[in-house]
């Protein structure tokens, strides 16, 4: 299919060269009609080539979205380290409160 597209593009290139060199309106119209036809064939063939990879993109979208979610969770996980220290601090403050209460009882 790649070879077909390549040959059609070569043909369009030849037609374009003729169009730029030619000054005869009737011949121009024949060349335009031919180029119109060949271009449509080329677009169709190229479309079929591109369709072969479309499924790969679908699979990649799912995997990359998963990775995005994992990375966001990892960033949140890193933030938890600070939360752990805050928990220890909270425990120390709670102990201080208990000591204060004991002091009032004594």
């Amino acid at each position: 299919m790649n070879d077909l597209v390549s040959r059609l593009n070569d043909l369009i290139s030849e037609i374009n060269t003729l169009l730029r060199e030619n000054n005869d309106p009737d011949f121009d119209q024949q060349l335009w009609d031919l180029r119109h036809l060949v271009s449509a064939l080329r677009d169709s063939a190229l479309g079929k080539i591109l369709d072969q990879t479309t499924a790969d993109y679908g699979a990649a979208i799912a995997a990359l979205n998963d990775a995005d979610t994992a990375a966001t969770a990892a960033s949140a996980d890193i933030a938890k380290v600070q939360a752990a220290i805050d928990k220890i601090t909270g425990a120390a403050k709670a102990a201080d409160k208990v000591i204060g209460l004991l002091g009032r009882l004594a």
């Binding site: 180029r35 119109h36 271009s39 080329r42 994992a70 990892a74 933030a79 120390a92």
Partner: protein, 305 residues
């Protein structure tokens, strides 16, 4: 309780945690990779849109020249059917989001917050010690320096745990995602390579139509109008001349992106490996991304969008 012994287990834990840390070099490579991959995703999205727009422009150009009658299909681009463009743009958006998220993990910096938390811990410990002393009427053998040591160790440990978690997260994410990145890059490289000849041909057809239109109108144009038309024609001429390089670069850049991601993965799974290959792969990717960006900018500044 001899609190002076506390730093020893802390130091051991610190050492254990540090052994799994990401090095500054590894993080710098992740940053470079993410920036280049994000830039590539943007340029590739623009390129697919440009291919599609050009496939419409080619048809409209024939109609404007009165070479062909207008048909409804003339407004439909090559990639508009069967979700071709939508799927590709979605995949590239996902690639851009992945690059940004990866950079986010590499950049996550909670050192200031950890430092603040450990200072609060120190204050709480001092307060508890002082109250205990008031209650018992005797010292607990804990000096400010002892408590400061504990708070400093907690702070260091917090930093080390952060780095260890970061390294583990990056290793897991790039390893799991690598097969998808390899498949995506192979598809991008194949698509852009397959489109090179057709993209060039489409620019050639548009240039030819503009060339013909100018030739027909030239006799009736004054100097200024003629020069303006010729400048437009030159833009089309330059676009035709650079069309092949533009898409071929995007194809090669996709392969460089795949190689760089594999090198980043290896830097986490085989950290003893020589980083030269990683540096080379990322450098190559960045060079392609810069080239493509410069080319896009030149097309936009010349008004050919």
């Amino acid at each position: 309780m001899n609190t002076r012994l506390l730093p020893a287990p802390c130091a051991l834990a610190l050492l254990l945690a540090l052994s799994g840390c990401a090095t500054p070099d590894q993080l710098a490579h992740v940053h470079s990779f993410s920036a280049a991959a994000g830039s590539y995703a943007t340029q590739a999205r623009d390129a697919f849109t440009r291919i599609n727009d050009l496939s419409v422009e080619r048809k409209l150009s024939e109609v404007a020249l009165k070479a062909q009658p207008l048909e409804e299909g003339d407004f439909t681009g090559l990639l508009d059917t069967d979700e071709r463009l939508a799927t590709r743009l979605q995949a590239l958006a996902a690639l851009g989001a992945y690059a940004a998220a990866l950079d986010g993990v590499a950049s996550a910096d909670n050192r200031a917050a950890v430092s603040q938390s450990s200072a609060a811990l120190y204050a709480a410990l001092v307060s508890a010690r002082d109250d205990a002393q008031k209650l018992t009427g005797q010292g607990a053998g804990l000096t400010d320096a002892d408590l400061g040591l504990v708070a400093t160790a907690v702070k260091a440990l917090g930093g080390a745990v952060t780095e260890a978690r970061r390294a583990e997260a990056l290793r897991t994410i790039v390893t799991r995602t690598d097969p998808a990145i390899q498949a995506l890059c192979a598809a991008l490289a194949a698509d852009f390579h397959a489109s090179v000849g057709s993209f060039k041909s489409m620019t050639d057809s548009v240039f030819t139509d503009q060339f013909d239109a100018y030739r027909r109108a030239a006799a009736g144009l004054g100097y200024d109008a003629s020069l303006t038309r010729l400048r437009t024609l030159r833009t089309a001429y330059l676009a035709r001349a650079h069309a092949a390089d533009f898409l071929e670069n995007l194809s090669q850049a996709a392969l460089a992106l795949a190689k760089a991601h594999a090198a980043v993965r290896d830097s986490f799974t085989q950290p003893s490996q020589d980083p030269a290959e990683l540096v080379r792969a990322i450098g190559q990717l960045k060079a392609y991304a810069d080239d493509i960006r410069a080319f896009h900018a030149s097309l936009n500044s010349s008004g050919h969008e």
